[in-house]
Symmetry: C2
Subunit: 197 residues, 2 copies
């Protein structure tokens, strides 16, 4: 899915643990990650922006990842909130992206490079969600504005991260696990805008 130099492929095919963000332990830098970082950091600033990330990521249709996907992913690892990430954060992001690629490949049963409606329904089922068919259809339509048929890997990542975030926000308010929450206006807006892009 990546442009040059080729990406290792993660191995972990599970759903990234429980919707949480990865921990920020300082691991030694893998040489492959180092090489990648240098290739992506075009302006040699020692920091990677979402724009630089975007030039490096190609989906199964030969298009660059969407700016939405790249902003979301950089935002998740940008601990000091300066809009870019250093090499330690990049290593976490690199592993994170590889995990998502593995998840995507796992659900792309017909190896078309895209996920279709029935594959997406199956994916959510296996992730433990019980969504109606209309909701799955709505997600596909939202991603594939033209043909309403399929979702590319970057769109899949965006939808999954958003659903993860909204689910966390929901759960945090659904203390008695009733499946129903009560929200005031600004709280509602904050969640909705915070979890989206």
């Amino acid at each position: 899915m990546f442009g040059n130099p080729g990406f290792g492929g993660g191995g972990n095919s599970g759903y990234p643990g429980g919707g949480g963000y990865p921990g920020y332990g300082q691991a030694p830098i893998n040489p492959e990650v180092q090489q990648w970082f240098q290739a992506v950091d075009k302006d040699r600033s020692g920091q990677i922006t979402w724009e630089e990330l975007q030039t490096a990521l190609i989906n199964g249709k030969g298009e660059n990842f969407s700016s939405t996907a790249c902003k979301l992913m950089i935002g998740m690892f940008d601990t000091d909130r300066n809009g870019s990430i250093g090499i330690n954060e990049f290593q976490l992001l690199y592993n994170y992206i590889n995990q998502w690629l593995a998840v995507f490949k796992n659900y792309d049963r017909d190896h078309s490079g895209s996920i279709e409606e029935h594959e997406l329904g199956l994916a959510f089922q296996q992730m433990g969600f019980r969504f109606s068919q209309e909701f799955v259809k709505f997600l596909i339509e939202k991603s594939d504005l033209k043909n309403h048929r399929e979702m590319s890997v970057d769109q899949f990542v965006v939808v999954c991260i958003q659903i993860q975030r909204f689910t966390e926000a929901f759960r945090a308010r659904d203390k008695e696990l009733k499946g129903v929450i009560t929200l005031a206006f600004e709280d509602f807006l904050s969640i909705a805008l915070n979890c989206s892009t």
Copy 2:
């Protein structure tokens, strides 16, 4: 704000009416709109996609409008949901964009081409919202990932459209005008994902 050929400038400095979508009356096509349409419709398909719109729209910082803004705006006028719009829909979009440009200019008090925190707070106040300062600050941070200082016109349009949509979705459920709503999980997800991008 637009690239060549120059854009007329709307005149209507009010907030586009009550958060609703514009009506779809079939008005005669303004020759200026016709000229614009032909310039934007690069592949002469008779339809404009969000990518074509993006190449034509420039914000006050000299950057193209974000893909998020262009997808949102095309989506609003794409009645047959095929991912693009024809000339009648384009005329409505053209007026709509001009209205937003006027709103933006009105709130950009120092004519910097961007809206800063206090200007945004004032804008929302005048639109009838009573948001906390933290919320306004959060909106600015979300838009200006690097400096947390200002919002460009396309970001302003995105934020306003999203808030409009979320407000409508909230109101539709807040029948007794209590400022508080109760939501089930899939309903919550649908609103959140439907109104965002």
